[in-house]
């Protein structure tokens, strides 16, 4: 009798534990809009394919934009980005963790990790997620409610924050918090610099604000669109 209770208890523990943690699934980025020649390929593939509004950019996709092109993406819900021309971005990881037992707020975790190899990236991030951007020299931890721009070229990485706060960790150096109205450049001569002190940063700030607004509009339009309807 006691053995039967023991087995029943064991089965109950297995049954409960199997539903305990949420399930994690890889998701794909949505293309909100594209202009000019934008191509993507899988990491192990040499074949590049053009990006259009139906393209789903999943993990290990490498996106390349021509000099006069740009593409707007929704990496995960709330994380909108514009990739300007002459850029190369790798989508390393996009995952959602969901509690299947919940019928309401089922999302437990969102995770986005991308690698900006060259070019630029304007990011508008609302909501909650672990969002990391890796550049050749700097790792960036994105906090919710922020708008910023990253530019990467062969020798320098520049981060201009327009709204919110971003943490950046250079390969050689200390972690830096860049707040709205400041920018930072690596290799760094100074830590963070006020935007009005630098002509390039001034232009970046004004244009990034405008792009942030456009991304907001695209995000709203994408939300209103029916699933499967481009």
């Amino acid at each position: 009798m006691s053995r039967a209770f023991f087995l029943l208890g064991l089965a109950s523990i297995f049954g409960v534990s199997s539903c305990w943690e949420g399930t994690t699934r890889s998701i794909c980025a949505t293309v909100l809009s594209e202009r000019g020649e934008v191509q993507y390929s899988k990491q192990l593939s040499t074949n590049s394919r053009p990006v259009d509004s139906k393209t789903k950019l999943c993990a290990d996709s490498i996106l390349k934009t021509a000099s006069d092109a740009e593409v707007d993406l929704m990496l995960i819900p709330g994380a909108l980005t514009r990739i300007p021309g002459d850029s190369e971005l790798k989508i390393a990881e996009l995952t959602l963790t969901k509690d299947g037992n919940e019928t309401g707020e089922a999302i437990r975790e969102r995770h986005a990790r991308v690698e900006l190899h060259s070019g630029g990236m304007i990011v508008l991030f609302e909501g909650f997620a672990q969002f990391n951007i890796q550049t050749p020299n700097v790792g960036i931890n994105v906090l919710p409610s922020c708008l910023f721009r990253i530019d990467v070229d062969q020798s320098r990485t520049r981060l201009t924050c327009v709204h919110g706060k971003v943490f950046a960790t250079p390969k050689a150096g200390q972690r830096v918090a860049v707040e709205a109205g400041f920018f930072c450049e690596w290799p760094a001569e100074r830590s963070v610099i006020s935007v009005p002190e630098d002509r390039q940063a001034q232009t970046d700030m004004t244009t990034t604000l405008q792009i942030g607004r456009e991304l907001t509009d695209l995000g709203v339009a994408a939300r209103d669109r029916l699933p499967g309807v481009p």
């Binding site: 400041f182 002190e197 002509r199 604000l209």
Partner: protein, 202 residues
Amino acid sequence: MPSPTETLRFCAILATAIFLSRQTGNAQDAGPGPSDAVAPTITVRASASDNSGAQFLSAFISTAMRSNGKNLVSCVATAVKLRPDLAGKIVVCSLNIARIKAQSVTGRVSLDTIDQIIKAAIAAAPSAASAIVTAAIESEPYARDSIIAAAISAAPDQESGIRVAVASSSSMSISPAVIAFNPAEAGPSGAVNSPEQPPSGP
């Protein structure tokens, strides 16, 4: 989140810095120093070049991004008062800031916020009313009527100028005339391919 007094202090610093820079014309270096701690003050380096407009706007955006509600409106008023020549751009930037900060489901700025921004900007520089209204309508075409009403209530003596500016501006707002669709006007004239035909006689 900065307190209201702190945000007002930002505005005061912004105003003082720009005023002093215009008076002296000398460059000032006001970097935050080697520390990682970011100082919450925005200073503007003096410049008599064409760059001063971009410099002013970036300083305004930096300050306004940290402001909410009435503090944002007071920053708009301060900025427009200092640079009425940039009034249109300042208002558009402030509307964009309000939109990004609002995180509204519709992606639109509330009419109340638009009303406050327009009234504050025009009260600060009534002579720039036309430029402000034109820029605001271009930015937020859905709020065209609210913008015009707010502008006229803030500067009644500028009403004729505002009306002329609105009439001459090519607004992208969707008017009822654009929404109204008559298939008879769109299709080939007189050749409707349908089994249902109009009655032949009276």
